[in-house]
Symmetry: C2
DNA sequence: GTGAATGCAAAACCTTTGCAACTGG
DNA sequence: CCAGTTGCAAAGGTTTTGCATTCAC
């Protein structure tokens, strides 16, 4: 059971290759391996954890290549980033319940007064999970950037 | 207009003091000042931006103190962190639309199959904002941590 | 008076970059 | 062949830490 047959491997390679090629990128052993590591254990590993696991069977792989591979897989839609926002933590004086809107163009952050409440009938947790807080982050374009052709440059405002 | 009167200042100090003291912390000029900076311009500044603004009228304040003050204000409920999750970016092989659950106890991350969709009637954006994606992050305790007295230690799993 | 907080500098942590060597298509 | 990729080491940005001094209560 769950034995990875040669047939599976080939299918996967084809899928990988297709997706990467579509974005003008190459299928390398390292990228294949990183993808395999992510498929093997879906516990949302960090780049460092991926690196450690990848090294087990590919000792010469480097951290830079792991980042490169992860970026490649993300940018061609094969892998998803969780908890990406790598910029600095921001602080907010508004203690009312609210959500945050991030402008992907100029980086500005705006308060949005609506929230998804934990007792929203639509949000039912699997058994055993104790929900304490829901955070909603909205990505898109702010009024300034969606109206003007020339967005104010990528300043972090 | 919007002139901060002495009366306002005193009221604010009292509120600050009460909240800090309640958590066993002291009201220092630096903390007061950092709080003031956040009230003055609610544009979700980063710690570095707070530092720069605070320095304008308190040149000797240090970055470490800004972080300390922000932490103090956050931990007594006077300020909110946005985009906090300071750990490393995590990667996820599941490309189906889903949300993520973070266990605040052990740090594990789990997929939750529900999402808030952009066309959810409940989520209506203010005029001019172009919504492209909604990310939902749920915080709480995972089944293991909410059942056992002794949670598995704060390993980042 | 005393534990908490400050300021400084150094360290830690995660990620990106520059570059010469290598390689997949 | 040659643009894309690798691996290494060094740099970058953000946050934390250690410690002697100072301060709030």
């Amino acid at each position: 059971m769950a034995k990875t047959t040669k047939q599976n491997k080939t299918e996967n390679d084809e899928r990988l290759n297709e997706r990467l090629a579509h974005s003008g990128m190459r299928l390398t052993p390292q990228r294949r391996h990183v993808h395999e590591v992510l498929r093997e254990k879906m516990d949302h590993p960090t780049a460092d954890q991926v690196f450690l696991r990848a090294k087990e069977t590919m000792p010469e792989i480097s951290m830079a290549t792991v980042y490169n591979s992860l970026d490649a897989l993300v940018s061609c839609g094969l892998v998803r980033q969780v908890n990406a926002d790598r910029g600095a933590t921001r602080y907010c004086h508004n203690m009312q319940p609210h959500s945050h809107f991030y402008c992907d163009e100029c980086g500005s952050v705006h308060d949005i007064l609506q929230t998804v409440s934990p007792d929203d009938a639509n949000f039912r947790m699997p058994r055993g999970f104790r929900l304490e807080n829901i955070e909603t982050t909205i990505h898109g374009k702010c009024p300034e950037c969606s109206s003007s052709k020339k967005p104010r440059s990528n300043q972090i405002l």
